[in-house]
């Protein structure tokens, strides 16, 4: 085969133009591990992207572009779910900024929340959030921290029935109000529940995660690193060499693999401001997941540190 100068120039041009051709991110085959959303069977990569604090950058153009680069790397790496909330300051417009730059990747799974105590304001808040993201409709809308859930959930189910969103969920974090979460899971036809769960905060293993499996509810895990505290806590300790067989190369991947290997967990949503970290997080969804024996070993190891 003869390689002409034109071919080389065209090839270089293609490479240079890659960042300017966001639609290329559409439909790329992703080698990430996925799990099905129980209600639909729709495959979901087991690592998503959270936006609490990290995407709340106001109108700072430098920081907005940094976040846009994180979003671009997330989709390039095969990610799907981005999660946000009206409570997260400017995170929603920051997501919109990043998605616009990528011309709205088809792979996007938009996970939003309704967070308003006045039930009458729920629809307007969701509409405002939709405007910030710039999407036609959200895939998932969750009741944030169970705020006025008795009133919001029926409205969200109506929106789902009308085709204005695809899934309905509820959220909590840091182990709060788990009994109430269980009651909602047991009594309401929700599709998703979002909780905090990690190698040290394992209380959900007792009741919430088994209940999610029983009811066919997808589980999103927030704060997988306890806002970075777990990585800071363990980073000076050696990574056990036996986790290498799963492909984990660092503590972030160790922590994520523990979470996403629980059979009831659908995906974890670590947040970051750094492109290298988002790639590192997505790599936790490659290789293999720890089996039950290794999961127990992981717990024993970190508890002994």
């Amino acid at each position: 085969m003869i390689i002409t100068r034109r071919a080389v120039v065209q090839g270089l041009g293609f490479a240079v133009s890659l960042p300017l051709m966001p639609r290329l991110t559409r439909g790329q085959p992703a080698d990430l591990i996925t799990k099905p959303i129980p209600r639909s069977g729709e495959p979901m990569p087991v690592v998503g992207l959270g936006t609490w604090i990290t995407f709340n950058v106001g109108d700072d153009p430098v920081l907005k572009d940094e976040c846009a680069a994180v979003i671009a790397a997330f989709f390039e790496g095969g990610g799907r779910m981005i999660d946000s909330s009206p409570m997260y300051g400017s995170s929603q417009p920051t997501i919109g900024h990043g998605l616009r730059k990528l011309d709205y990747p088809e792979r996007l799974f938009s996970a939003e929340k309704v967070w308003i105590s006045d039930p009458a304001g729920g629809a307007a808040q969701i509409e405002a959030s939709r405007g910030y993201w710039g999407v036609g409709k959200f895939d998932l809308v969750q009741v944030h921290n169970l705020v006025s859930w008795e009133e919001h959930l029926p409205a969200l189910f109506d929106m789902k029935a009308a085709g204005q969103l695809r899934y309905v969920g509820i959220t909590t974090s840091e182990g709060r109000r788990h009994r109430e979460i269980e009651r909602v899971m047991a009594s309401q036809p929700i599709d998703f529940v979002q909780i905090t769960y990690n190698v040290l905060d394992r209380e959900p293993e007792d009741r919430i995660l088994p209940l999610a499996r029983e009811k066919g509810i997808a589980v999103i895990v927030n704060r997988p690193f306890r806002q970075g505290d777990l990585i800071r806590q363990f980073e000076d300790a050696p990574l056990p060499d036996w986790v290498a067989e799963t492909g984990a190369r660092n503590w972030a991947q160790f922590l994520l693999k523990f979470i996403i290997s629980h059979p009831a967990v659908t995906c974890a949503i670590p947040a970051t401001t750094r492109v290298d970290h988002v790639r590192e997080n997505l790599d936790a969804a490659r290789g293999t997941l720890p089996d039950e024996t290794m999961r127990r070993r992981m717990v024993d190891y970190v508890e002994a540190l």
């Binding site: 604090i53 709340n56 109108d59 409570m87 300051g89 400017s90 840091e174």
Partner: protein
């Protein structure tokens, strides 16, 4: 255990220190050299006020009303609220304080007599807010571009206002205290959550104010 007992200070911090201090830097750069105009304006009324309190009883609350209103509008409402939704409420509180200061100016009468400690404490607090506060950024290891100055940023505006009110002996001092003290507590806790050494300054302003208010002489 109540849900509230499970929260820590850091749980209420919804932005990173980098974002917050960049916000201040960009604000300062956008409005430079207005910082100097505010400081010069404040000195122009505070120096005469320190020497002859009765001669500037309208000018003092007037310039502070301007400073509070500017902070509320330009910093809290236009900028800080973009990363902290609670700042829309803080801006409202600052506008209320602006109204109270305007009211104080309109109803200005002969100042109450002020004891030495309260008067000189007030002068010290005003000087701290006006001339020392901008250097806290440097002492905290931050960029000078994130310096907080009177009229531009809430903390030095609060410190200078409290000092001036103590100094000139307002009869309505009790009316002017709650919002500044609540703000200092909020600001101090926010900076503390960000592990910024500048957190000590708002707390020190509250303690100093309460000590000087309590002073009878």
């Amino acid at each position: 255990m109540s849900d509230w007992a499970t929260y820590t200070l850091a749980d209420f911090l919804m932005f990173s220190p980098r974002v917050y201090f960049r916000l201040i830097e960009r604000y300062n750069q956008a409005l430079w050299p207005l910082q100097l105009v505010f400081i010069a304006g404040a000195l122009a009324v505070l120096v005469p006020a320190a020497l002859h309190p009765s001669r500037v009883r309208i000018a003092v609350p007037s310039i502070f009303a301007l400073a509070w209103g500017f902070c509320a509008w330009q910093f809290l409402w236009m900028r800080y609220a973009s990363i902290n939704w609670a700042m829309s409420y803080a801006a409202a509180a600052f506008f209320i304080q602006t109204g109270l200061l305007v009211l104080t100016a309109l109803l200005a009468r002969e100042p109450a007599s002020v004891g030495g400690l309260r008067r000189y404490g007030g002068i010290g607090l005003a000087v701290f807010g006006l001339l020392a506060y901008p250097f806290i950024a440097l002492l905290a290891g931050r960029s000078p571009a994130s310096a907080e100055t009177f009229g531009m940023m809430p903390d030095p505006t609060v410190a200078t206002t409290l000092g001036a009110m103590l100094m000139v002996g307002r009869r309505t001092l009790w009316l002017l205290l709650p919002i500044p003290i609540i703000w200092c507590a909020y600001s101090g806790l926010t900076l503390w959550a960000m592990e910024d050494p500048g957190a000590l300054a708002p707390f020190a302003v509250v303690v100093a104010t309460l000590v000087f208010v309590a002073a009878r002489r």
